[in-house]
């Protein structure tokens, strides 16, 4: 017995019915275009010689059955005589197979033995063992003749011939295509024939992903130009614009050509042309998915730039912050005031995409604040991940030397030296510098240190001063770095066009996405209008298309939050003074039926946040709000503590209200499967609590992980199924600093 590489796959071919056009348009909820074609070589290794036969025969039947029904080809029912013939064929095949196996095991590579494998493969191209056997046979022969180029050619040509006749039997045979690649990689010179062969196969089934994959392989091998390949996709799309594979290949080729700025491939010229092409497809047949996918890709190309950008920071450029020692319950009457027992404040960098490599060498700090020479930058992300949109460093402002009552200028230079790289591999190239002033006060405000924070009432409209408002302005530099004119024009044109497709769901969705894109790259003045239209569109969609309700709901929330944060005027409408809390400023985003959190980059300054009476399932996104100390999540749809996982990054969080949610309601919590089980995790530290009450930790492990890392003084958990005496006693153990639980002061 030996290791065999077998393609995982009776199921795969059918899974590719995504290319079928007859299905009603299902909305793709992801931006990813790399759906179908990247699955080519997902192999697994198995000890499979013995099981191989039955597996293969079953697959053979499967393939012939399904092949007939793919891409709109009619399927014929088997007649009894055909079934009989098929049984006879199977018997013959079994005979061949056992003979072949004997040869294989005995390493017989004579002409007769190899011919036997040819026969077998011509009947059943899926016999992967036979392909591997042939590889061994070829190696065996080649080693015998050494360097006679003619003989080598004869041997390899014979292999190609066998593959070709096998492919005629089943042009979706993984084994046959792999074998062909293998032969070509042996350096056979007749690669010119390959494109001709491919043309035939691609005519036979224009969306055959094997052929497309192999085509890319051959193109690579022959160094055929990407421009020529692009023209080929022109032809294929021209003859059938439902050819998703051709569109996909087009996007791959264009990405490459645009990225290396090939002659005639400037984004500002080429992308608008591509819009015109895909418009024709969409308007000719709006029920066809392929064009919409490509349109989505184009929109992504229009809106996003590859190079990562710094979106915002806290403190923001030219802002003035006041730092106090002590008090940490967000009870400051000004937005720009911050205090912490630890004597340090977070410096937050928010990038437009996940980046890695933020460190004291790539980001330099120039200030008189002492003790910050070797700052540690941490990604605010899941454990072990070294990339994140949000990076935080903690700057000390209380050090051994007295430094109170002074103002310090802090100059931050991001990208000082190369090293900040996006997860896609693009460098943060344009370095950026920002300066803020930190005023360190010597007074220690400890007014309501242990008082309960109440969310019920006592909120006053925030009488903002202009300088406070200015502090909200975050740096929004993405426009500056992009050559945004053609982008704005392209999107404006698309918007005009798609306003004319009002009767289709995908048309509405695309219009909403376009408007969102426009709002992202246009001036503040016109944004509000767009957001209102976007919100209306998503409302319509929610009513029209209930099967994707949650997606529209989430997008609606995103748009709403963008709208709220689009201008200081809009935002200040949601800012309140909390009377009972020493007039500290609270951002209230309650009762907005939010199901998702967004626009956090504009809210880095927030210390007190009210998200109650929404439809949130998770706190994902809030981890960026490093200053947050009071959070109200009551009356939402949180189902477990795992959904609160992102809160673990909030070192300042002291007050958390998760009352009236659904925690503990569902015995089977799907999010648990995404977390590693604490019981199987060897790294699980056997800490004090864990060893004291292992059964409770096992039962409430998700709560344990969240609460253990937080430093809460007040927690409200009432109105959840999980709440009860047992859980309360568990909480007291996990969060020893807790003063208020469910509105009651704890006796310590």
């Amino acid at each position: 017995m030996e290791l065999e590489i077998i393609n995982q796959t009776p199921i795969k071919p059918a899974a590719f019915s995504i290319n079928c056009t007859k299905q009603p348009l299902s909305l793709s909820l992801s931006l990813s275009l790399s759906l179908s074609l990247s699955l080519e070589s997902r192999c697994y290794v198995t000890l499979a010689d013995q099981k191989f036969e039955s597996h293969t025969l079953a697959y053979l039947t499967f393939v012939s059955y399904h092949r007939r029904n793919m891409h709109g080809r009619p399927r014929k029912a088997y007649k009894p005589e055909e079934e009989a013939a098929s049984a006879a064929k199977a018997a013959k095949l079994r005979g061949l197979q056992s003979q072949f196996m004997a040869n294989h095991h005995n390493k017989i590579y004579t002409k007769e033995a190899v011919d036997l494998s040819t026969k077998l493969l011509e009947i059943n191209p899926e016999a992967y063992t036979a392909w591997n056997y042939r590889k061994l046979a070829v190696e065996d022969k080649l080693s015998g003749i050494e360097s006679d180029p003619d003989l080598v050619k004869t041997i390899l040509d014979e292999e190609l011939r066998v593959v070709e006749s096998a492919l005629k039997q089943n042009f979706k045979s993984y084994g046959a295509w792999h074998h062909r690649k293998w032969v070509l990689s042996k350096g056979n010179s007749s690669v010119g024939n390959e494109l001709r062969l491919l043309d035939n196969f691609q005519k036979l089934d224009t969306r055959n992903f094997h052929a497309w994959n192999y085509r890319r392989f051959v193109v690579e091998l022959t160094k055929r130009s990407e421009q020529d390949e692009l023209e080929y996709t022109d032809d294929m799309i021209g003859s059938d614009f439902s050819n998703y594979s051709a569109w996909h290949n087009r996007s791959v080729l264009l990405s490459s050509l645009l990225a290396r700025k090939a002659d005639g491939f400037l984004p500002n010229k080429k992308i608008p042309d591509e819009y015109k092409l895909v418009q024709n497809a969409i308007f000719t047949d709006e029920d066809d998915q392929s064009g919409w996918f490509y349109h989505l890709w184009l929109l992504d190309q229009t809106v996003n730039v590859e190079t990562p950008l710094l979106t915002s920071s806290w403190p923001s450029h030219s802002s003035r912050i006041s730092l106090y020692a002590g008090c940490s319950k967000g009870s400051f009457s000004k937005l720009t005031t911050f205090g912490s027992e630890s004597g340090s404040f977070p410096l937050v960098l928010y990038f437009d995409q996940a980046v890695g490599g933020v460190s004291s060498s790539t980001v330099t700090i120039d200030s008189e604040l002492k003790g910050n020479e070797d700052l540690v930058w941490e990604p605010v992300s899941k454990k072990n991940s070294q990339v994140s949109c949000v990076w935080v460093a903690r700057l000390k402002y209380i050090s051994s030397e007295p430094c109170f009552g002074k103002e310090y200028k802090v100059k931050v230079r991001v990208g000082n030296s190369p090293g900040i790289v996006s997860s896609r591999g693009c460098n943060f190239s344009a370095s950026y510098e920002f300066v803020f002033t930190a005023h360190v006060h010597d007074t220690v405000e400890e007014s309501s240190q242990d008082g309960i924070v109440s969310w019920k009432d006592g909120f006053d409209i925030w009488d903002a001063e202009s300088k406070d408002l200015n502090a909200l302005a975050t740096l929004d530099r993405s426009n500056a770095q992009m050559d945004s004119k053609w982008r704005q024009e392209a999107i404006a044109e698309e918007i005009d066009l798609f306003r004319e497709l009002p009767d289709s769901k995908i048309g509405k969705l695309t219009l909403a996405r376009l408007l969102m894109a426009k709002a992202m790259i246009s001036d503040d003045a016109v944004k509000g209008v767009h957001y209102n239209e976007i919100l209306e569109l998503y409302k319509d969609l929610m009513a029209l298309d209930s099967s994707h309700y949650q997606y529209y709901k989430d997008e609606h929330s995103v748009a709403l939050l963008r709208k709220v944060t689009s201008s200081t005027e809009d935002l200040s409408g949601h800012l309140f003074r909390c009377r009972n809390m020493n007039n500290s400023v609270c951002l209230r985003l309650n009762n907005l039926s939010l199901s998702r959190i967004a626009s956090v980059e504009k809210l880095l300054f927030v210390q007190m946040l009210d998200l109650s009476h929404n439809e949130l399932h998770s706190t994902e996104g809030l981890e960026a709000m490093q200053l947050l100390s009071c959070l109200n999540l009551s009356h939402n749809r949180i189902r477990s503590f795992s959904s609160l996982d992102s809160l673990r990054h909030l070192k300042q969080l002291r007050v958390l209200d998760v009352s009236h949610n659904h925690i503990g309601e569902h015995s089977v919590d799907t999010t648990r499967y995404l977390c590693s089980s604490p019981l199987s995790n060897s790294e699980w530290p056997q800490d004090e609590v864990g060893s004291q009450m292992p059964s409770l930790v096992t039962k409430y492990w998700d709560a344990y992980f969240v609460l253990r890392d937080l430093n809460l003084k007040q927690l409200d958990i009432t109105g959840n199924v999980i709440a009860g005496d047992e859980f309360s006693s568990f909480v007291l153990q996990v969060a020893p600093k807790l003063v208020w639980l469910d509105g009651k002061k704890l006796e310590i």
Partner: protein, 566 residues
């Protein structure tokens, strides 16, 4: 025809059916009758197969058009002891024949055999039409090969040709339609397809909720239905004239006479849609037989010959033989025909070429019953059925760069305000073996009320597509006009213009008359009338019944049995 070699006398002398003329209608009837075991004698006065559907060399075409205009030679003496003999006359279907040669080299020996020019052009076959079905049924498909017509266009007086967006891919690629127009057109096609699918489904089972066009819409004029869809005028015109191949202006009720009903319009679209993709080798809906349309009647004739039909070409008939004894009138009075050789041949039934008539002076002496027997041959009954103006141009160059075989339609009023009917133009190249390599044959046709009107319309289309040229003797003056747009146009080398009378087939008991080529692009109506005539002749027997099963099996394997060269 004076140098006719003498024929031996025919044997046998009695048949079930005699057919005179080898046009498409006659050939279908002959093949069908022979296949069902009927003994058939098939005669043609011409030295070639096809009669009015033939494809000929330029000199043959010229002489055929002219010779048919002449009166037939005086019949030989008609005194027979046993029968009453009625002399026949030949009238010409063609009038206003006008032939001009602009480049005499075209008639040279080296070219002359390379032309196969249709008398009944422009004509093509739809992949899904009845003539194809009939060929498959009869087995005559084995004798013909086809090629695709590459493209079809709609033109106007500006000279611009816009391709007909007749499929999903064509709509996608079309550059002249706006995005909304594409959307509307595709939506309409989808509606038609859904309707057809629903109609097909409901024929087997009653299907609720399927998309169907409302019954009251089906009875309304098609043009109103298109407007209701709503389709803009540009697209309406493409659908009506470029796809449904309507002749008369549908926006002008008076000129049109009868408007196309939605039901019929949808049926025509269905033919077009089902034609696309019926055969995997065919590019679009239309195909054309290699070596010309004359191949079609020949194919049916060969089929008939295989089934036992006897063929004699160059054999006119001069007289009909009727029973002398008037009390034997129950048999219909018809007995047989007298050939040009003088031999008398007898049959139960007779089908005659549409140009054969009985002179009125011969009629006057007959009894009422005898007149009844001969009624289909009386010229006045076949006079007022409309005319088709046809034109043929041999050109150097092509009307559209890079395209050899193409159909161009000029909808009514597109060329000039008084244009009453659509003008269809078919360009064919040497790939179809109809002309020498560097040339194209252009066929023009339009239905018309009178000769002048029809020819004026054709000349207008010609001048839009082709560089005008004066006859050779005046050629020195022609260098005056020389702008660039004109320079790109093809040059005409040879031109024929003629007007053909349209004669419908008629069943007359023992003597029937076959139909002449009609003004349509396809053979559908001709086939329909031939099938009807066959049913009347033979009772309600189905055509080519016994051929059906063996040919169905080949249909699955090989492009439906029709050879289409890619």
């Amino acid at each position: 025809m004076s140098d006719l070699p003498p024929y031996p006398p025919l044997d046998p002398t009695t048949y079930d059916l005699i057919i005179v003329g080898t046009g498409v209608s006659e050939s279908i009837l002959s093949a069908a009758a022979s296949s069902s075991g009927t003994s058939v004698l098939h005669l043609d006065p011409n030295p070639f197969y096809g009669s009015h559907s033939a494809s000929l060399s330029l000199p043959d075409l010229t002489s055929f058009l002219h010779s048919n205009s002449l009166s037939p030679p005086p019949p030989p003496p008609s005194d027979t002891p046993d029968f009453l003999s009625v002399d026949l006359a030949t009238r010409s279907l063609y009038s206003s024949v006008e032939i001009a040669t602009f480049d005499s080299s075209i008639l040279d020996e080296r070219h002359s055999r390379k032309f196969n020019v249709d008398l009944c052009g422009p004509r093509v076959l739809f992949c899904a039409d009845e003539s194809i079905n009939l060929m498959l049924k009869s087995g005559s498909n084995n004798y013909v090969e086809f090629k695709s017509v590459d493209a079809s266009f709609v033109g106007d007086s500006s000279g611009e040709l816009r391709s007909v967006p007749d499929s999903r891919a064509a709509i996608f690629k079309d550059k002249s339609l706006g995005l909304m127009e594409k959307k509307q057109l595709m939506k309409f096609f989808k509606l038609v397809q859904a309707h057809l699918a629903a109609a097909a489904a409901s024929s087997t089972e009653s299907d609720e909720g399927a998309v169907k066009i409302a019954e009251e819409d089906m009875e309304s004029p098609f043009v109103d239905f298109l407007a209701k869809m709503p389709l803009p005028p540009k697209i309406k015109s493409i659908i009506l004239y470029g796809i449904a191949m309507v002749d008369y202006d549908q926006d002008n009720v008076e000129a049109c006479g009868d408007l196309l009903k939605t039901r019929e319009g949808i049926a025509r679209l269905a033919l077009y849609i089902t034609s696309i993709g019926r055969f995997s080798n065919a590019l679009g809906a239309l195909i054309y037989p290699i070596y010309g349309q004359g191949e079609l009647p020949q194919a049916f004739c060969r089929r008939a010959a295989v089934k036992g039909c006897i063929y004699v070409l160059r054999m006119p008939i001069t007289a009909l033989l009727l029973d002398k004894a008037s009390e034997l009138i129950e048999t219909g009075g018809y007995k047989g025909v007298r050939l040009a050789t003088g031999q008398e041949i007898f049959s139960q039934k007779l089908i005659l070429d549409p140009c054969i008539t009985v002179g009125s002076e011969s009629m006057s002496s007959l009894t009422d019953q005898q007149k009844e027997t001969l009624r289909v041959l009386v010229p006045k009954s076949i006079s007022s059925e409309g005319k088709i103006a046809r034109g043929i141009c041999i050109i150097r160059g092509s009307v559209k760069a890079d395209i050899s075989n193409a159909l161009v339609v000029y909808p009514p009023k597109s060329l000039f305000p008084e244009q009453l009917a659509a003008i269809r133009v078919l360009q064919l190249g040497s790939g179809l073996a109809v002309c020498p390599a560097d040339m194209h044959v252009l066929y023009f046709s339009t239905v018309c009320e009178n000769d002048d009107q029809g020819k004026a319309a054709l000349l207008s289309a010609m001048s839009t597509l082709i560089k005008p040229q004066v006859p050779e003797n005046l050629q020195s003056d022609s260098a005056v006009e020389n702008d660039t747009a004109e320079a790109a146009k093809p040059v005409v080398l040879w031109r024929a213009l003629y007007v053909q009378a349209m004669v419908k087939g008629e069943f007359g008991g023992s003597i029937s008359s076959a139909a002449s080529p009609d003004g349509n692009l396809s053979y559908n109506e001709l086939v329909e009338s031939a099938v009807k005539l066959y049913e009347q002749l033979m009772g309600s027997e189905e055509l080519f019944k016994e051929e059906t099963s063996p040919d169905n099996t080949t249909e699955e394997e090989n492009d439906g049995g029709v050879e289409i060269e890619a």
